[in-house]
Amino acid sequence: MIPKSLTAASTKLIILGILREGNSYGYLIIKKVKELSGGKMNYSDGMLYPVLHHLEKEGFIKSEWVMEDEQRPRKYYALTTQGKNELIAEREHWVNVHSVLEAIWQLSPKK
């Protein structure tokens, strides 16, 4: 199970990354996260919403209520241009972290 702190730190990237695939609403987003993490990331579903609202406030994503016939109204989120840029930057950070970690595994233990 991935620790909480790491989960929290990666949420932004994960949400932006999922939305890159196309517009989606809260329930589907969280479903996708669970799918992708194979249950290794422990979320409480509700915590997703403050993050979504925060990202929206920052201008990375935008939302729209969509009412399809005979269905529930759903709040769809979509990536903004600013959000796309943020995703690239965020990805860069994680790649950097990853390469540092890679380098660390290369170090041979001293006796």
């Binding site: 329930y27 409480s44 919403y49 609202h53 925060h54 709040k75």
Partner: protein, 899 residues
């Protein structure tokens, strides 16, 4: 049995404990939970299990609320606020707003009609203000230009926009720190252009200035097309504007105009030596003919001007100065103060001791257009009427307030209907800010329509009220300031009218709103609506009373006995500059006419716009000098009989110049505290030293408008004065009489149009300003009542609809049509009755203030107010009654039918 729906509602309720969630996010999470439960049930879970799993996976609400709360507290940027506000508004909000407007055509009409009238008022006030402020702004270094004027204190208080003739030269010799001093005489002259043997005449007089080159040093904006200012230093030359050159000579080649001759006022000849470009900017200095100042020394009427005399000040002789860089105007005022004392000393050489003291002062160029005490110059454009602008501004504001009140009232009254919309929007995730914006944008749309309509409406008003408004008033969209002003209105009015309803509507709890438990029908908004209606009708009733007061005072003044006869008397002024022998000939012509019963020649009729004043010195038994400022007239002996003046003591003057007999009025006797009978035979002395003896005392009559108290007055005998007063033999065939008089005139003065005026017209013209006020007050009242009644009509129709069922039940239970009508009208009548209590003191105070401008005014009786109240109640009854009847005669079957 597990009730899923109940459990979900229970779960949702726990969100409401936290302020962090708005309706949108609660709704969002509700959908999440339902989706999840559905999925779980689809996978084979029972409803009970699915609910438990879904809520557990959703997690505790408290930490989520904490997170959301941190979100809320994060710094808001303008972009995020606007973003979140516009969030729930879809692209069609304009269409929705438009639909809302069209769905309630009556209410929208009421709002738009009121606002467009209010906005038109504002537009006109704006145009007037910006027009008046634009005068003479183009002069280079205009702040350095000042006019020198004279003020008087002592027995006679007053001012004159001019200075004594020798002052400009003396000032030029002594002053430092002044670039130029210009002396100017203004006049209004007709022109003849010699052409072959005959003269081409231009009867309409031109505003003419006698100046020298100094004038153009002060006012540097003039552009000389041909010639330089220096050419005006020679006598008998003139510089004219380009357009005048074309009018006079029909010549497009301006150089050919130079050297041509013009004849002013039948005898003054001048050669054209310069052409000046027409003044394109707005100016009071709209002189077209500049005759050289030195020409005056050769004019036939040159004896009228004494260039050495410090004692006379004629308003046509003006003086302008231009300060040098760094000169404070106070230093000039200091010098002028010293010169004032010297001036008084110089004119004191003869005559009794001085009772009035002169003080010369500077007046900034910018003040000339607004100073109605000093004015511009004789025959110049009237100064801007600040009280008129202020009155119009107040009226425009009032109309706008009444219209905004309509808006607020109708909007809050309809709140119940809109509650459902609010509820739905909130459930759909609409934030409060978004709703506010939505409602205000609807107000914006209505205001935009009103502003659009106000454009043709203002144009109409400008034509309809052309007699009050400056003729240059035009509406132009190329004026940036005007466009900005309209944009300003577009922002302010929706905020003013939309904010309260928007705040109130958006505060609805969606649950209540959707259940139609509209909180707006509650007491707080009804109270507000009632208060605003009372405000509206207080204004309207106060205006009705004010309009009544103005009209009644005018007719009271016009019909009041002024102490002299004014019926069937015409006056005509013969040219004062022309030969006296012509007047004698004219009198002889008039004496032949059957239509003329009596003739008098005087300086002016008993009442006249304007005044002549001088000082009379009376020495009492102790030889003490008692100077009194007096008005005076002069004329021949028929003055008393022709105007029906009454002698209370003594007799009429004897027609002998050398006797120096005068008539005084009772006011003069009262001033000296001497009984009229004791005044007979007393000696008095005029300021100039001339001695008189009092022959008779006249009963007081109103020698000026009823604005002023009857002043001490005297009449001296003098023959052959230029003003003719004619008593017509009968009033049955006035046109024929006028015809005869005109014929006689043209025999003697063939070149001049006769200017005949009726004395009762002259009296009526005293109250021209009041008549304008009356028109304005009546219009404002009509508009205010119209807009207020529109609002009332809207509210009444709303109440009638709201109470449809109640009325139906009442009718079924046996209520009569009259009873229903009374029920519906009662509340409005109570409100209007209440307004009356507020309106009376306002109208009484305003009426008193206005009437205090008159020395003589009608009594302000109670019935004026009662009539205003009654009138407004009748109008309101008619307005409400229509709706009440409609509701009352409706068949209860219809209103009670349950759809």
């Amino acid at each position: 049995m597990f009730d899923l729906e109940k459990e979900i509602q229970q779960w949702l309720r726990s969100f409401h404990k936290h302020r962090a969630f708005d309706h949108g996010s609660v709704r969002e999470m509700e959908q999440h939970l339902r989706d999840h439960i559905e999925d779980l049930i689809a996978k084979g879970n029972s409803a009970d299990e699915a609910f438990k799993k879904a809520t557990i996976e959703f997690g505790d609400i408290a930490p989520i609320a904490n997170e959301e709360f941190t979100n809320l507290k994060r710094k808001k940027t303008l972009a995020t606020v606007v973003h979140s506000a516009t969030l729930p508004m879809n692209k069609f909000s304009f269409t929705i707003a438009m639909r809302n407007i069209l769905r309630r055509p009556l209410f929208s009409f009421i709002k738009i009609a009121g606002l467009s009238v209010g906005v038109s008022g504002c537009v006109i006030v704006f145009l007037m203000t910006s027009l008046e402020l634009s005068f003479d702004k183009f002069h280079p270094d205009g702040d350095k230009i000042h006019r020198v004027i004279s003020t008087f204190s002592g027995v006679w208080e007053g001012s004159n926009p001019a200075v004594p003739l020798p002052l400009p030269d003396a000032l030029r010799d002594r002053v430092h720190g002044v670039e130029a001093v210009s002396q100017m005489l203004t006049d209004n002259l007709n022109v003849e252009v010699p052409e072959g043997g005959s003269n081409k005449k231009f009867v309409k007089p031109n505003l003419t200035a006698y100046v020298d080159h100094h004038y153009f040093e002060v006012f540097q904006a003039y552009r000389w097309v041909i010639g330089t200012p220096k050419v005006l230093d020679a006598p008998n030359v003139v510089a004219i504007t380009e357009s005048k050159a074309k009018t006079y000579f029909g010549e497009t080649d301006l150089s050919k105009v130079i050297g041509k001759r013009l004849i002013y006022r039948d005898s003054l000849e001048a050669n054209v030596v310069g052409i000046i470009a027409d003044q394109r900017e707005r100016t009071d200095f709209n002189f077209t003919d500049f005759i050289s100042l030195s020409t005056l020394k050769t004019a036939r009427w040159k004896d009228n001007y004494n260039f050495e005399e410090w004692g006379d000040i004629n308003s046509a002789w003006q003086c302008f100065i231009r300060l040098s860089n760094g000169t404070a105007v106070s230093s000039i005022d200091e010098l002028l103060k010293a010169m004032s004392k010297e001036s008084d000393a110089k004119s004191d050489v003869k005559g009794p001791p001085r009772t009035t003291f002169t003080l010369f002062k500077t007046q900034p160029l910018g003040d000339i257009h607004f100073n109605n005490k000093l004015g511009t110059w004789d025959d110049g454009r009237p100064v801007a009427s600040l009280p008129m602008i202020e009155a119009l501004a107040a009226i425009a504001a009032l109309l706008l307030v009444i219209a905004v009140i309509n808006f607020v009232n109708l909007e809050t009254a309809q709140a119940l209907r809109r509650a459902r919309e609010v509820g739905l929007r909130k459930v759909m995730g609409g934030t409060r800010a978004g709703l506010l914006l939505h409602f205000i944008s609807e107000g914006f749309l209505i205001t935009s329509i009103a502003v659009l309509l106000s454009i043709p409406l203002s144009k109409l008003a400008i034509t309809a009220f052309s007699e009050f408004l400056p003729s240059e008033l035009t509406l132009s969209f190329s004026d940036v300031k005007f466009v900005l002003f309209l944009i300003g209105l577009l922002v302010i009015i929706p905020l003013l009218s939309g904010t309260y309803p928007a705040l109130a509507l958006s505060s609805f709890q969606p649950v209540d709103a959707l259940r139609m438990k509209g909180t707006m029908s509650g007491s707080s908004s009804a109270f507000l609506r009632k208060t605003l209606t009372v405000v509206q009708f207080s204004f309207s009733q106060a205006l009705i009373a004010a309009a009544l007061i103005v009209s009644l005072q005018i007719s009271w003044m016009i019909n009041k006995d002024l102490g002299f006869t004014r019926e069937a008397i015409v006056t005509m002024e013969t040219p004062y500059w022309d030969k006296v022998s012509k007047r004698v000939a004219f009198r002889h012509e008039l004496e032949q006419l059957s239509a003329v019963a009596a003739i008098n020649q005087s300086s002016r009729p008993p009442t006249f716009h304007g005044s002549n004043t001088t000082t009379l010195h009376y020495y009492n038994d102790k030889k003490e000098d008692l100077p009194t400022s007096v008005h005076f007239n002069a004329g021949d002996t028929s003055y008393v009989s022709l105007f029906g003046l009454k002698l209370v003591a003594g007799r009429n003057v004897t027609p002998v110049d050398s006797l120096g007999e005068i008539l005084v009025n009772e006011a003069y006797c009262a001033k000296l505290n001497i009984a009229p009978i004791d005044m007979i035979g007393k000696d008095v002395k005029r300021g100039s030293g001339k001695k008189y003896v009092v022959a008779g005392v006249l009963k007081d009559f109103h020698h000026a408008s009823l604005h002023s108290v009857i002043q001490p007055w005297f009449f001296e005998y003098e023959s052959n004065y230029f003003l003719f007063s004619l008593k017509l033999a009968n009033t049955t065939n006035t046109p024929d009489a006028i015809d005869q008089i005109k014929k006689a005139w043209s025999k003697i003065y063939p070149d001049m149009p006769p200017n005949i005026s009726f004395l009762d017209d002259t009296v009526r013209k005293f109250y021209e300003a009041e008549r304008r006020v009356a028109v304005l007050a009546n219009t404002a009242t009509a508009l205010a009542i119209f807009i207020s009644c529109l609002g009332l009509f809207g509210l009444a129709s709303f109440t009638a609809i709201q109470r449809t069922k109640e009325i139906g039940i009442r009718k079924v239970l046996g209520a009569s049509v009259n009873g229903i009508m009374a029920l519906l009208s009662r509340e409005f009548l109570l409100l209007i009755g209440l307004s009356f209590l507020f309106a009376v003191p306002i109208a009484w105070y305003a009426g008193r203030q206005w009437l205090s401008g008159f020395a003589y005014s009608m009594p302000l009786s109670v019935w004026i107010f009662l009539m205003a109240g009654a009138l407004s109640i009748v109008i309101a009854l008619l307005t409400v009654g229509f709706q009440a009847i409609k509701a009352a005669i409706r068949n209860p079957v219809e209103s009670l039918r349950y759809e």
